[in-house]
Symmetry: C2
Subunit: 147 residues, 2 copies
């Protein structure tokens, strides 16, 4: 049996090997929300500091976050999404949409995200599957495996 998701010849498995650990997507959620500093993440997430440090290190090791020193004495670092990290936005918004649709409590979705330049009452971000060729919205029935 494969010990690691990374051993599977599957792009979904390999992605999960990098970002599928518990709490990792919430670190990324906070990074997308503009957080960059260890203390900001630590305040936001109900996890032990050593777990947070391990998750940040994994993300830096895989090039999802870039770690940069912003202060000399004492040395302090900030964590910023790379292009590779930013490309996880559809995954994050997909999880966000699904939770809003199916897991919100009686008091409604916890957080409202708005496309600030759009005046429509429906100006909310949504992850959708489209065809890279023709732009059409796709369901699983429109897609077949070709290799």
């Amino acid at each position: 049996m494969a010990k690691s998701l990374a051993d599977l010849r599957c792009s979904v498995a390999r992605s999960l090997d990098v970002i599928g650990e518990r709490w990792t997507m919430l670190v990324l959620r906070d990074a997308f929300n503009g957080m960059t500093r260890f203390e900001e993440f630590a305040e936001s997430l109900p996890i032990a500091r050593n777990i947070l440090a391990a998750r940040l290190k994994t993300l830096v090791d895989h090039g999802v976050l870039a770690r940069e020193q912003y202060q000399d004495r004492p040395p302090r670092y900030e964590y910023r999404l790379t292009r590779k990290g930013a490309d996880l936005y559809p995954v994050l918004i997909g999880l966000f949409n699904w939770g809003d649709a199916y897991l919100a409590g009686d008091d409604g979705p916890p957080l409202d995200l708005t496309h600030h330049k759009c005046e429509s009452p429906e100006a909310h971000p949504e992850s959708v599957v489209v065809c890279r060729g023709c732009g059409e919205h796709l369901t699983p029935r429109d897609v077949r495996r070709s290799a």
Copy 2:
């Protein structure tokens, strides 16, 4: 400290509480690929049968998969994506795209998915974030928290 992701007032955390366990998204990958039977999942996934059974039960308990008997003697069940489960397609394709883009080996992406009605050489499914109001493609900079 919160013991469970479900305790957090966040739609991303709540989604991960349901589908964030190791191997769960690969069970869903196989369901999107048309698998319905325990033996099919068991053959596809390098995990112990009791783990697979537990993951399927979680997905059924949360209404992501529906369990239906298809044979009497002995009783056999199949697992089908519900509407709630099918709505995870953007998350799955987002993970697939990201793995293809950043984690493919020298021999290229493992699997090619094609929009079969489209003749473009770029006829591949892609998860993108758009505005539900105006349809524009969105980056994190286009979105703000409004609550």
